[in-house]
Symmetry: C2
Subunit: 206 residues, 2 copies
């Protein structure tokens, strides 16, 4: 066993999420997180300003990926397809961290204050996306609406995936959810006519 311990950040994150889930976010101290990770508090503070930042890091690889993908999506795509393109590009950011993400969601779901913080983070993400869409030449209203529905679609897809990761991949969930979004303006008759097992339209009440 080497005394050199690599990936201090990753180990602190893992230890923190385990403690937040076992004993609650509020009840967990930085000292406990560091101890569980076999590191010092000092090392914890090299990576995180406080215990909340483990859940809400200052830099957002997701925001960067969405903004970059939005900027580079093919020019002729309609707004909703730009969103589809950007969200699909962001999938690997999540899939490579599947278990940590599920633990993080459970911690947030158990704590109303963290839920408020998560909403603020999602609103910031929507602003980033809207800004990137305006940079493509979209009008402000179009950009904001496309960004909001993009984030909403992502959130729904993400929740379906987190709750049942073996059923479908995140990419499939996003595809499914965006199909639904594409048909929100479609009259019920047309939805019924395109019966393809997707999530669009009305449920059978049979």
């Amino acid at each position: 066993m080497s005394r050199w311990k690599p990936d201090a950040r990753g180990r602190l994150e893992k230890a923190a999420l385990e403690l937040y889930n076992h004993q609650g976010f509020d009840a967990t101290t930085v000292a406990e997180i560091a101890a569980r990770a076999g590191l010092t508090e000092r090392t914890f503070y090299r990576y995180f300003a406080d215990k909340r930042e483990v859940l809400f890091p200052g830099d957002s690889p997701l925001a960067d990926t969405l903004a970059d993908a939005t900027a580079t999506a093919p020019v002729q795509l309609p707004p909703l397809e730009v969103i589809a393109y950007a969200l699909t590009e962001a999938v690997p950011v999540f899939e490579e961290r599947g278990d940590l993400i599920r633990q993080r969601q459970a911690v947030i779901a158990a704590n109303p204050e963290l839920q408020e913080r998560e909403l603020t983070k999602l609103a910031t993400l929507a602003s980033t996306l809207a800004h990137a869409l305006r940079e493509r030449g979209l009008q402000t209203t179009t950009a904001i609406l496309a960004a909001e529905i993009g984030i909403a679609a992502f959130r729904v897809a993400y929740e379906l995936w987190v709750n049942d990761p073996d059923q479908n991949t995140l990419a499939q969930r996003i595809q499914e959810t965006l199909d639904t979004a594409r048909h929100l303006a479609t009259p019920a008759e047309q939805v019924a006519a395109t019966e393809d097992g997707s999530l669009t339209g009305q449920e059978n009440v049979a």
Copy 2:
């Protein structure tokens, strides 16, 4: 001058909004609000649990109106048209309170904590709307997406209206914004072909 003072609640709200705007939300006390309204603190607490509740009342006529209108919208409407119907029904809730609403927005815009609270309120509103859409027989995903885009559209329309109330009515702004939402899935060519001066599609960079 009669010593009987009607509409205590309305006067407290008006006094509070004026003080929040003049001297800041954090710096304002309940005692100051009551004094400005010519009432006692005791009366204030008969209507509001605390000074934040003036901005975020426990009961939401907007949520009730949206839920009721969603329940009674014509059966055959596509999800986005149900939203259009519900938002249009909610317009009078706002138009009759135009000035108070503008003051409220200014207070919230100046205070990050109040902004977080407003996001939470809007998320709750989206949940209420999604629930009402599910009650109509829509699938969960469809209901959530329609509700999210409905609230986003409303927020955009509302902001346009608050910032420039003389340009268009709130009802017109909602109509405009929903037109944009209807065309998010439309390829750029088709958007260009339906040149009608609405907000859809890409800006002219001429």
